[in-house]
Assembly symmetry: C2
Homo-oligomer: 153 residues x 2
DNA sequence: GTGTCTGCAAATCGTTTGCATAGCA
DNA sequence: TGCTATGCAAACGATTTGCAGACAC
């Protein structure tokens, strides 16, 4: 059903904007949703080229912008210099835990933090429309690696 | 006294790394700390050039990287495509409220949110070393502007 | 002196765009 | 047919780098 509503959103959006469905677009979109995670355009492009060598980066950029505009994907920026996209259809808002050693990204959500953010904003006269919260640190595995290294040294 | 410790940190860092104090570096650093706020390299460069027309952007980039490395400045990324720097010496950790209409940036800190972030991370096996939290929305003035517009329309 | 800086311009990196051609409806 | 999409390569904006001369110590 998630699948259906995704296609529905996409079809409606494309119809409303006079956009056409093409082989490349479908391939890119299918690949994006089937791979999942937080993909950079570069990564997605290489996945797509496993199916069709001729697709250009430009098309991947254009398609991801389209998915972002119709709300099916969210552009994210984790400080590594490239934009990453994540699937957004019917998903709750969430934030990220990022391991600075291995790059693993874990999603989480916490209503109490969100409520407190609103409270802080209100105190400063702001009305919050969106926010970004990223926690950087070491995941369980990398903590172990780090302590092993210390022991070895 | 803040000034003294800043210079102390800088001098120690420069001595340890065999770096030299130059006219341009001093000018850039002084300008950065005296202007304050969240400066892009471009903005800082233009301020610096009011004093010395000959300074190149490259030097400003190199100097800000230096300040960042020795911990006196923090690089920030508010999604407008350019890196912004803020003074960091002896300041508490804080987060940002950003007005999406006028670009105003307000700093705030909230220990309870930070505590909850740590708790969430722990639940996922992470140890947090740093984080980024930005709340985007409308500041008081821009809310008024927005509602006036609605009234006019 | 000698090794670090600086300015300049060229290079890079991620991303966007113009244009002629290919493709969907 | 008519209009959108694609691929390509050139254009972009922010940032970095190689190099020869300038400067600090």
């Amino acid at each position: 059903m998630n699948k259906e509503s995704k296609d529905a959103v996409l079809n409606r959006y494309m119809a409303q904007h006079g956009l056409k469905s093409t082989r490349q677009r479908s391939l890119i979109i299918d690949t994006f949703f089937s791979v999942g995670g937080h993909l950079s355009v570069e990564e997605l492009w290489s996945k797509v080229r496993e199916q069709d060598t001729k697709v250009s980066v430009a098309t991947v950029y254009r398609t991801m912008k389209l998915l972002n505009d119709c709300g099916l994907a969210h552009a994210r920026n984790f400080g590594d210099g490239q934009t990453r996209y994540e699937a957004a259809a019917g998903r709750e808002h969430h934030d990220h835990l990022i391991c600075t050693r291995c790059g693993q990204i874990v999603e989480f959500e916490n209503d109490r933090i969100e409520a407190m953010q609103d409270a802080v904003a209100r105190k400063h006269g702001f009305i919050v429309t969106s926010h970004k919260m990223e926690l950087y640190g070491l995941c369980k595995d990398c903590q172990r690696t780090a302590s092993e290294r210390k022991t070895e040294a």
